[in-house]
Amino acid sequence: MTGRAERIGLLALPGLSFLAVIYALPLFMLLLKSVQIDGQFSFAEYVAFFSDSYNLSVLWRTVRVALLTTGLALIIAYPTAIVMARAKGFWLSVFLVAMVLPMSVGVVVKAFAWTILFRTRGVLNDTLMSLGITDAPIRMLFTETALIIGAANVFLPFMVLPIYAVLRQMDSRLPEAAASLGATPVFRFMNVTLPLSLPGVVAGCAFTFSLAISMYVIPSLIVGERQQTLSMLTARSFLYLRNEALGATISSILLLIAISVVLTSSWAANRLGARQ
């Protein structure tokens, strides 16, 4: 049995070596670069990065935007996933296409489409004004709010699909059993559906947060250079400042945040899964 299991494990070899060569190795080299100055081991680049208040504000903005994006995506995704989990046949296909198709429209195209929506004399402002909700147009483009809304939109499928997958697997008799035991819809949701869907929520949040903390194109297009994020700072270090050490340091910080999020969430998902 073990022999067989081991041989089956060999199937993972191509994937693992692919990841090792294309992903782990270059990142490791980057990490090395961030702790080396003239061939000497040193944390000086990190000290320099963290003692600059501008860098700290960028770091905080990046984390804040990623958290808010994840939160917004979760709020929108959860009810969607519930509806999808109950949908059948035609409507299920509609939902799945609606989730997957937008991924094939590049972020650049989407971002330009949003400018039509969000700009000062854009569709949204015109509507708000004609409804009398505001008198003067609200500045939406180039704001953090627009960035969060845009990012949540782009990453929504990564939140919806894991939650949907977990809810879909859930035995529909469980909420019914809860109802027959006297549980109100709210009690059923809080004590049956929600706890059973948590592994999906954790996975969706990990995906979305990892994507949001490292996003580059969306903030570049929506808020531009004025409000930098860590990824934009990294790109600027490499491309304009030609400061590889700084770029490597920022990349490594991003990577560490992402790794800790993934590890924490897989630990959480395992714990939640073990309870079931």
Partner: protein, 361 residues
């Protein structure tokens, strides 16, 4: 928990399902369904798979909405009450235990849903677990339990809330035969002691016979007969009920002559006599319970070639060679090895022991 109350056989209409109809996507599952259960009665819904048993159960529980008709419980209409306001507990076929909760948390669920604090549930949970002999498993995860243990937890979880009615959808179907029989006796005793009104759904006639005061035999969304097990066996209301409840010798034939309450019928094995008056030419099905068929001449006598002789311990079953759709079956008491396949034997029974139905009913 619930005070003892006198049991009746449906006269009180404790549960009164009145002219209920239900269709799924235009396909009618049942229409004009009437079904009455008395307080403290143990009733089975018996019928083949797909005949609408689960649907009826779900309508009573409030998990499926009826298209028409009404459901009354203890004189009050509950037709439009949501499931969580009915206080009707359900034991599902797959038990539907909450996988993220322990055994004790599963059992406590109904109390917590009623607003009891977690800490207050302890004594009642302990009592309910003791009732189903699962006290040692309180802190276990439900996935680690065997089928029989899961069923006990499901029963404890359903009973802890003192339901006004307990519904069980094929509760024994996931258990192996031996365990099934033990659990049936256990559960019946438990429900009796508490004077619980309960409806069992099953497609297994032995199970229905064993656990219930009365059995409603369902076929294609209709209740064909609702009677005590012995009444069902002795006087089935239709050929369907006769076939579904117990075995029988069964002959198809055509009435050639009929006088007052006695008909002569031509079958593939010769003419036989049966009670009842029919228009000559009527196609009928005759049934005789196998223990009423003797291996000697009687008012009706057939010469039968044996296809098989099965020694079953307390009885021996003789299967005669029969046309498609017919069955020739005789049971003699005890282990009897005088018979072998290929033997020619006499099957005999009295006219009064025959059941006759117009074919197609």
């Amino acid at each position: 928990m619930a005070p003892p109350a006198p049991r009746d056989m449906g006269d009180s209409k404790y549960l009164d399902v009145n002219a209920v109809g239900k269709a799924f996507k235009g396909t009618s599952v049942m229409s004009g369904m009437d079904f009455r259960v008395g307080r403290g009665e143990l009733v089975s819904l018996l019928g083949p798979s797909g005949c609408g048993k689960t649907t009826l159960l779900r309508i009573i529980a409030g998990l499926t909405t009826a298209d028409s008709g009404e459901v009354l419980l203890d004189g009050r209409a509950i037709t439009s009450a949501p499931a969580h306001k009915r206080n009707i507990s359900v034991v599902f076929q797959s038990y539907a235990l909450f996988p993220h909760l322990t055994v004790a948390e599963n059992v406590a669920f109904g109390l917590r849903a009623r607003g009891h604090a977690k800490t207050d549930c302890g004594p009642k949970v302990a009592e309910a677990l003791a009732l189903v002999r699962m006290s040692d498993f309180a802190e276990r995860k439900v996935a680690a339990l065997s089928g029989g243990q899961q069923q006990r937890v499901a029963v404890a979880r359903a009973l802890i809330v003192d339901p006004v009615l307990l519904l069980l959808d094929e509760p024994f179907s996931a258990l192996d035969r031996k365990l099934r029989e033990t659990m049936q006796v256990e559960l019946k005793t438990l429900l009796r002691d508490r004077n619980m009104t309960a409806i069992f759904v099953t497609h297994d006639q032995d199970e229905a016979m064993g656990v219930s005061d009365r059995i409603a035999v369902m076929n294609a969304g209709q209740i064909e007969q609702f009677a005590t097990p012995s009444e069902l066996y002795a006087r089935p209301a239709s050929a369907f009920v006769m076939d579904f409840v117990g075995l029988s010798t069964r002959l198809n034939g055509e009435v050639i002559e009929s006088t007052e309450n006695r008909s002569t019928i031509r079958s593939a094995y010769g003419t036989v006599h049966a009670p009842g008056t029919f228009v000559p030419g009527t196609k009928v099905t005759i049934g005789v319970r196998p223990e009423l068929v003797k291996t000697r001449a009687a008012e009706n006598t057939l010469r039968v070639t044996l296809a098989d002789a099965m020694v079953l311990g307390s009885k021996t079953q003789l299967h005669g060679r029969a046309e498609a759709g017919d069955r020739l079956l005789c049971e003699v008491p005890g282990m009897n090895s005088d018979y072998a396949p290929g033997d020619t034997v006499t099957f005999g029974w009295d006219v009064a022991d025959s059941l006759v139905y117009e074919t197609g009913t």
